[in-house]
């Protein structure tokens, strides 16, 4: 884990009409680390994700990725630049197969257009072979190789979550944002997921993780940022966060449920 900062969130403020969803939030993500973003419901975690991936435009403040500001970039440009994500409520392409879903991710870095496709030019052949190979590797990595030809809608819940991660990884990101990847998992599945996240990081990716399950967050992250009501209230290692009174206060009464 180097000290280079892959993402800098600088004074990010996001207002919708009268509601301030994010209020002057600042934090950095170091290259190669697993950063957890936690907070009670409504704290602004997914909003933060949305700002980073270009879904929302900041009202003020800046987000810099590898030193370059993301302002004005279109969403697909941000993905192509190296930020990928999964979704809180799974958003796979339901009538496309698992393989096709991952291929879409791989296509993010391709440039085959209608002419290359129509005339089967070398670029098309090369990118298709490349995409298929990467996709099958990722499906294998996620344990989905046998289900490559299943419709995404047909997969089990756990498989769908894993497929989303595979699809995100296929875009060849430098930073992967996982939005509650463990939602709906039982303890055993969560343990497997933790392993998976570590393996993802070991492959060279940086991970930004939103999660409600405290044990998972404490177990897998290197550092944690805590939001409450749109403001950052704490930042530090899991040990520091666990004993932080402000964090405990924010979660009071909620922690027991999530610890299971």
């Amino acid at each position: 884990m180097s000290d280079a900062r892959i993402l800098e969130v600088d004074g990010l403020t996001l207002r919708f009409g009268g509601l301030t969803a994010l209020d002057d939030v600042s934090f950095d993500i170091k290259e190669g680390e697993i950063l957890g973003l936690i907070g009670p419901n409504g704290a602004g975690k997914t909003t933060c994700f949305n700002a980073i991936t270009g879904v929302y435009k900041p009202t003020s403040g800046e987000i810099r990725f590898q030193g370059e500001s993301l302002a004005g970039k279109k969403r697909f440009e941000i993905t192509k630049a190296g930020i990928a994500r999964t979704f809180q409520n799974i958003r796979l392409f339901p009538t496309m197969t698992a393989l096709e879903n991952v291929l879409i991710g791989a296509d993010a870095q391709h440039t085959t257009g209608i002419f290359s496709a129509l005339f089967r030019l070398p670029k098309h052949r090369r990118e298709e072979a490349d995409g298929h190979q990467k996709a099958m590797e990722l499906l294998g990595f996620m344990g989905l190789a046998k289900k490559a030809d299943e419709l995404a809608a047909n997969l089990s819940y756990g498989d769908q979550r894993r497929l989303e991660i595979a699809r995100a990884m296929a875009t060849q990101p430098k930073l992967i944002c996982l939005d509650e990847p463990a939602a709906g998992f039982n303890p055993q599945e969560k343990r497997v997921l933790m392993d998976l996240i570590r393996k993802v990081r070991d492959q060279g990716f940086t991970v930004l993780l939103i999660e409600h399950d405290m044990r998972l967050v404490m177990g897998v992250t290197d550092r944690i940022v805590v939001l409450e009501f749109g403001k950052k209230i704490a930042e530090g290692t899991p040990a520091e966060i666990r004993d932080n009174p402000a964090v405990i206060a924010a979660y009071l009464g909620v922690e027991d449920e999530d610890a299971s």
Binding site: K80, P94, T95, I104, D107, G113, A117
Partner: protein, 377 residues
């Protein structure tokens, strides 16, 4: 139908190719064979087949826009009109170009108009997009009605025909079959001159149209099975998620629109060359609706399905002439019935079939549990 397709794809490649070639040959030979129940009494069969190929072409083009990319276009006839009018102007009204030079220009003009129309329009929400495209289609027609340079209501005649091979008598003559008195005869009096694009014999036009359709089917397959086809599907399924996965959705929507325009313009130009005469009434809104009906009834997203739809829409009213007056009524009913009972169309693409099976299984599961609970109580 889907079962037949599966068996076809399991055959070894040489066999598959042979089957397709034979089917293609059969298609070309169809008007020469004059099969009894299929030919259209009172209307030139070759001419009907030509119109069918034009509808097939249009259906393929609209299928890319509606079926692949998921954009509801109610003004497709506009592209058809631009292609036809460009060909007409260049070969008859304001210049004397040969058809083969006019067609590329017509297609280019239509494609450019597709891009110009798409650029501002494709940012707009689904049903609004439908209405905007409808508006554009009507604007194009009304401009033709009101502009002297485009022939106004009188239209443009003397549009160039495709060039013939072998002068007026052609290279050789192909006799038709004659079915009667319980036997099949080769009628050497009833022949088609190869390859003469004349006034009476419509069959060469059909062959031209059929060839273009076959080429377009290939092209459709090549493009669909690539990054482009996947991007269209993803955009249709979930545009926001697609964009976040790196798909430049707006560009691909524009590409779908432009490709649809290209094909529509080509069909329009070919149609104009056969008709020899066009006027604004050939491009009423009602045709946009019939085109849409072909795609929706046939099975949007499935290139074979929409061709079946096109055949139904173009052929049935000619085969059953009494039906012709009721054509719009019947297809209107078909649209409503299909929207309510089978929105995916008669021959939906495989993915939809699988997804529906899934839904069905879920429903059965749910009903099964309810039944058990009731039984227990």
């Amino acid at each position: 139908m889907s079962q037949i397709k599966f068996r076809l794809s399991e055959m070894p490649k040489p066999l598959k190719i042979t089957v397709w070639v034979l089917l293609a040959l059969l298609a070309y030979a169809l008007p020469l064979l004059e099969p009894p129940f299929i030919t259209t009494p009172g209307v030139d069969f070759g001419g009907v087949l030509f119109v069918v190929t034009m509808y097939c072409l249009v259906a393929l083009g609209l299928n890319i826009v509606v079926g692949y990319a998921g954009l509801l276009d109610l003004g497709y006839v506009g592209f058809y009109a631009i292609g036809a009018y460009t060909a007409a102007i260049l070969t008859s009204f304001h210049a004397n170009w040969p058809l083969l030079m006019a067609i590329p220009v017509a297609v280019l003009a239509t494609t450019i108009s597709g891009v110009l129309l798409g650029a501002p329009t494709l940012r707009v929400r689904g049903d609004y997009l439908a209405i905007v495209t409808l508006g554009f289609g009507e604007i194009i027609r009304l401009v033709a009605v009101n502009t002297e340079w485009l022939g106004e209501r009188k239209g443009i005649s003397n549009i160039a025909r495709p060039p013939s091979l072998g002068g007026e008598e052609g290279l050789f003559e192909i006799p038709h079959l004659f079915w009667g008195n319980g036997t099949v005869l080769i009628d050497t009096q009833d022949t088609t001159k190869f390859l003469v694009f004349g006034v009476l014999d419509q069959i060469p036009y059909y062959w031209m149209g059929l060839t273009v359709v076959i080429v377009m089917l290939f092209a459709d397959y090549l493009v669909k099975d690539s990054r482009v086809g996947r991007a269209w599907e993803a955009t249709r399924e979930d545009e926001d998620a697609a964009e976040l996965m790196g798909v430049p959705t707006f560009r691909f929507k524009l590409l779908a629109f432009a490709t649809g325009a290209f094909i529509g313009g080509l069909a329009g130009a070919l149609y104009a060359s056969r008709q020899n005469f066009i006027n604004p009434d050939s491009f009423l809104l009602l045709f946009s609706i019939l085109f849409l009906a072909a795609v929706v009834v046939g099975g949007q997203g499935n290139r074979w399905g929409v061709m079946v739809g096109a055949i139904l829409v173009a052929y049935l009213p000619q085969r059953f002439r009494e039906f012709d007056d009721f054509r719009v009524l019947v297809f209107g009913v078909a649209l409503v019935a299909l929207a309510i009972l089978r929105p995916e169309g008669l021959f939906p693409p495989r993915r939809t079939v699988r997804a529906k099976q899934l839904e069905h299984e879920f429903e059965e599961l749910e009903e099964g549990t309810e039944g058990e609970e009731e039984a227990r109580v």
